[in-house]
């Protein structure tokens, strides 16, 4: 309502009209202050790289000006130099391919076996009664402590390293899988039964897709465990591999190389996390 229309009104009824529009029009108008912002995660793509660059730059400046002593921490440019050496000598690919092979073999086998056993536990009361306590008992054992045993069983070569990663990824995958099966909406299963779907169809079309979110978040955890175990296993009796490279650099106090190796690990971790993120986006598109 335009103010001209209100003003005469106001004069007419000023005495007996308390807080009407007329009175409000006379008082100064103020917008209601906005208080609703924040607390929502929004993508801010530039912040992470920016922060990263700023931290590296500060570190470089600190090293150049002598604030950070070169003995305790070499400048990032020196670590980059070590990385460049790796590339030019062709050793980067040798270390990386050895590590990637162990990681993918161990993680893939551990995951396949883990999902299989997890489904078996989730679907069969007998298997659950027998194996769920066993899994709970074996899960907390640090697999790296068993490495000497794996060396005896599978040899000092690739076998023991792959086995360490395999066992490390197996248990969290089992638990994530059967927890996922347990969480599938019972009504959906009952719906499948009521339409006379076969057991196979119910498992394949209702239970597995329903358990998938939990299985995939298990993958995130098992992938990180796999990288940690990879490095640990490569520190024992490996010629090539990122872990071996880091161990060697540490033994020689070549801190620039050590930092280059750690950076490689970070990149590896980021890549794996990104891959799993893509897989989730693709397989769980229906959740969006």
């Amino acid at each position: 309502m335009p103010p001209e229309m209100i003003l005469p009104n106001k004069q007419d009824f000023a005495a007996d009209q308390p807080d009407t529009e007329g009175a409000a029009a006379a008082a100064p108008l103020q917008p209601v202050p906005f208080r609703g912002g924040g607390f929502v995660a929004r993508p801010r793509r530039i912040i992470a790289p920016l922060l990263f660059i700023v931290l590296i730059a500060l570190w470089e400046i600190g090293s150049r000006t002598g604030v950070i002593s070169p003995i305790s921490l070499p400048a990032p440019s020196e670590a980059a130099g070590a990385l460049a050496d790796l590339v030019t000598t062709g050793m980067l690919w040798k270390h990386l391919s050895a590590s990637l092979f162990r990681l993918s073999a161990g993680w893939t086998l551990g995951t396949l076996l883990g999902v299989t056993l997890g489904l078996a536990i989730g679907l069969s009361s007998t298997v659950r009664a027998g194996l769920a306590p066993l899994v709970a008992a074996l899960f907390p054992i640090p697999k790296i402590a068993l490495l000497p045993l794996f060396i005896v069983w599978f040899g000092i070569g690739e076998g023991s390293k792959v086995a360490t990663i395999l066992f490390g990824t197996f248990f969290p995958t089992v638990i994530a899988t059967y927890a996922g099966v347990d969480n599938v909406d019972r009504n959906l299963i009952r719906m499948g039964q009521s339409f006379g779907l076969s057991w196979r169809s119910i498992v394949r079309k209702i239970i597995v897709p329903g358990a998938l979110p939990s299985i995939l978040s298990g993958f995130r955890i098992s992938a990180s465990i796999a990288i940690i175990l990879l490095v640990a296993a490569e520190m024992i009796g490996a010629e090539f591999g990122i872990g071996a490279y880091i161990l060697m650099a540490g033994a020689l106090y070549a801190i620039d190389q050590l930092i280059a190796g750690v950076a490689l690990l970070s990149v590896l971790g980021l890549t794996v996390a990104w891959l799993i993120g893509r897989t989730e986006k693709w397989l769980l598109a229906w959740r969006a």
């Binding site: 959906l188 499948g192 339409f195 006379g196 779907l197 209702i206 959740r287």
Partner: protein
């Protein structure tokens, strides 16, 4: 085909839920079941469709279902029970995939039931993109796809708002006029019961027994225009139920 429940008694552990319930659902007949909360209506429906076994008594089928019926006893659930990872068409397809048929025929069935439930343009949508009423129409389409002899419906409209409920009720009436399915329809809503039921079974509080059966002989298609008669029947039903509902309410209060 008729679905017959013969003196069913059912107990969970020591709690008797149903006591000596006998009921016949005839060809092309809609039987509505009303009764106080907790009297065992959902349990009765699960027994009727073979999802649970009664402690005593039996559920029988007389005559054989139509030859083209893929799933003679078919449920429609209160919470729709759609797979969130499948599209509308995929949800309907799910119940056909276990039956050997040419892909073309399956596609034709899906297109037909989606058209009959006015969902043709949403075939590629996911359940999260649909309103509650549309989700229940998908569930109805899925049920129609297997050509059921008897539909078992447990409060199919109670998760919906009242306008949507009205519209879906009209849809059900049209559908029944069209396909003449038979149904056991459980509801709390007496207006729904008098609108859809040929017979209305009133159950007592737990343990559920059949307290009374009210027959309505107005043809279903004509009921929309005969509100006065229907509301009289509704009042009669409410009088039958009032005491039971009150007593059931008191029992729950005592137990708490």
């Amino acid at each position: 085909m008729q679905l017959i429940a013969r003196s069913i008694t059912h107990a969970y552990d020591t709690v008797e839920v149903l006591s000596d319930v006998s009921l016949t659902i005839g060809d092309a007949e809609i039987v509505c079941v009303v009764g106080p909360s907790g009297c065992g209506k959902s349990t009765l429906l699960r027994l009727l469709g073979g999802l649970e076994r009664a402690t005593s008594g039996s559920v029988l089928i007389s005559g054989s279902p139509p030859a083209d019926s893929l799933n003679p006893l078919t449920y429609i659930f209160q919470d729709f029970a759609l797979l969130p990872w499948r599209t509308v068409a995929g949800n309907v397809s799910l119940v056909l995939e276990d039956h050997a048929m040419a892909a073309g025929r399956r596609a034709a069935i899906i297109a037909d039931v989606l058209a009959r439930t006015k969902l043709a343009e949403f075939a590629a949508a996911y359940p999260r993109q649909l309103s509650g009423g549309m989700k229940q129409r998908v569930a109805i389409a899925r049920a129609l796809a297997v050509n059921p002899a008897v539909m078992l419906m447990d409060e199919p409209l109670s998760a919906l708002d009242s306008q949507t409920r009205e519209l879906l009720m009209d849809d059900l009436v049209d559908l029944w006029t069209d396909v003449r399915f038979s149904a056991c329809y459980i509801t709390h809503n007496l207006a729904e019961a008098v609108r859809l039921g040929h017979r209305i079974v009133v159950m007592s509080r737990r343990p559920g027994r059949i307290r009374d059966v009210v027959e309505i002989d107005i043809p279903i298609a004509e009921r929309a225009g005969r509100g006065k008669e229907l509301s009289e029947i509704q009042d009669r039903l409410w009088n039958l139920m009032r005491e039971e509902a009150r007593a059931a309410d008191r029992e729950i209060t005592d137990a708490a």
